[in-house]
């Protein structure tokens, strides 16, 4: 079993024993099973999944760090939500808003980068929300 902790600056989301964890690092998706090597990664915007007793839970997570040491996994993420908690309407509104904003601002401005990130986050939120139990 793996001991999984998912912590954000706002709250402790998950602290339990699980069988398998999958998440999205900067270099792509990775999975963790018991006996994993000591591992430290940055996290990208995307999904964290963990399996426990044949059930899979999905979370949206954006940015942060993941550490694996001796079957203990700690994800320190900037923001994270369970799939069930995601406000899909709001995410869809943000997508529309960001898309229109992206057409207006110049490609290399910081505003563009901000909107692009907002768009990525919202798309990821919507995709995670579609997997709720």
């Amino acid at each position: 079993m793996l001991n999984l902790e998912i912590i954000t600056p706002r709250r402790l989301l998950v602290h339990e024993e699980v069988e398998m964890v999958e998440a999205r690092g900067e270099l792509g998706e990775f999975g963790i099973l018991p006996g994993h090597i000591k591992f430290l990664t940055t996290l990208d915007v995307g999904e964290i999944r963990y399996m426990k007793g044949g059930r899979t839970r999905h979370l949206f997570a954006a940015g942060g760090f993941g550490e694996v040491v001796d079957d203990r996994i700690v994800f320190l993420v900037d923001t994270a939500e369970f799939a069930e908690e995601i406000d899909v309407d709001r995410a869809e509104r943000t997508v529309k808003w960001a898309e229109s904003a992206l057409r207006e601002v110049s490609v290399d401005s910081s505003e563009y980068r901000m909107q692009e990130l907002a768009l990525l986050r919202s798309i990821a939120r919507i995709s995670v929300a579609s997997k709720k139990l």
Binding site: E5, I7, T8, P9, R10, R11, L12, G25, E26, L27, F30, I37, K38, F39, L40, T41, T42, F65, E67, V69, V74, L76
Partner: protein, 286 residues
């Protein structure tokens, strides 16, 4: 000697002061509860980030990041003093000011320059009055948010990396209980490995330096955020117990004055009666 009416006026004035201090105590108590909740929310994250940063930087040479590299000659020192804008909270602001002042007094000969980065109006005023250099002050802080914390963090990182300061201390009040708070005075930048090398050589993704580059700013802003929340919690706690004391002191004063008032009143009555009896005796004699 105070007349009866003067004593009575004084009693009622203290009574209204007591009403105010009691209300302030209750307001602080509810603010304290909220601040404690906020502090609890971030505690787990802050502790883990600190542990993680400690482990990671114990595994890298200090030259690998400018914020880890200790300067050979320390000439210019900055103290980040976190207190509050408002008074009526016992020694809360003064304790922070005094510790910084003492540090300046003790190390004046050692360093070329010691400056303060003040968070809160009271601590800024206190140190400026004592001719300590305040390089920047943040006052009128309504809400502690990411923007505020990030701006402090980027100021500090800039000061250090541009060589304006060679060492940065962080000073704030740590909350233990509503009646007990502790002034913390810690070395902040450069970041020191909290423990000696331990064997946690990781598999890094994407690579060690990229992770350190992301982790260090995150560590710095988390630490600042936590220190400010800790300080605010302490402030409410300090104000609550200061007001609690004020309330019970006014109670005592009212009791004392009431006693004097009653004694004085009785005296007057006795005197009046003596006069009447004396007068009656005198009349009977004729």
């Amino acid at each position: 000697m105070a007349t009866l009416r003067e004593i009575k006026r004084k009693i009622s004035s203290i009574n209204s002061t007591r009403t105010i201090t009691r209300t302030m105590k209750m307001v602080s108590a509810s603010k304290l509860r909220r601040a404690q909740d906020e502090l609890e929310k971030i505690r787990a994250y802050a502790v883990k980030i600190e542990e993680l940063t400690g482990r990671v930087i114990a595994n890298v040479p200090p030259e690998s990041h400018p914020l880890l590299t200790e300067r050979e000659h320390i000439k210019k020192v900055l103290i980040v003093s976190i207190a509050s804008d408002r008074g009526l909270c016992g020694g809360f602001n003064v304790n922070i000011g005094m510790k910084a002042e003492n540090f300046v007094a003790q190390n004046r000969d050692k360093y070329e320059r010691i400056a303060i980065y003040a968070v809160g109006k009271k601590v800024k005023d206190y140190l400026q009055r004592r001719k300590v250099e305040v390089i920047k002050d943040l006052t009128e802080i309504k809400k502690v948010n990411k923007g505020l914390v990030d701006s402090i963090a980027s100021d500090l990182i800039r000061y250090y990396t541009e060589g304006e300061f060679d060492k940065i201390y962080l000073e704030y009040t740590h909350f233990l209980s509503p009646v007990k708070q502790l002034v913390m005075f810690d070395e902040f930048l450069p970041i020191k490995a909290s423990h000696i090398y331990e064997d946690t050589e990781y598999l890094y993704e994407p690579d060690k330096n990229k992770i350190i580059e992301k982790l260090i700013p995150r560590y710095i802003s988390t630490k600042i955020y936590f220190a400010i929340l800790d300080s605010q919690t302490s402030e409410h706690g300090a104000r609550m117990s200061a007001m609690e004391n004020a309330t019970s002191n006014s109670g005592e004063m009212i009791d004392n004055l009431t006693l004097i008032y009653n004694k004085r009143r009785q005296e007057t009555i006795t005197n009046d009666m003596m006069d009447i009896v004396g007068g009656a005796e005198a009349l009977r004699g004729t």
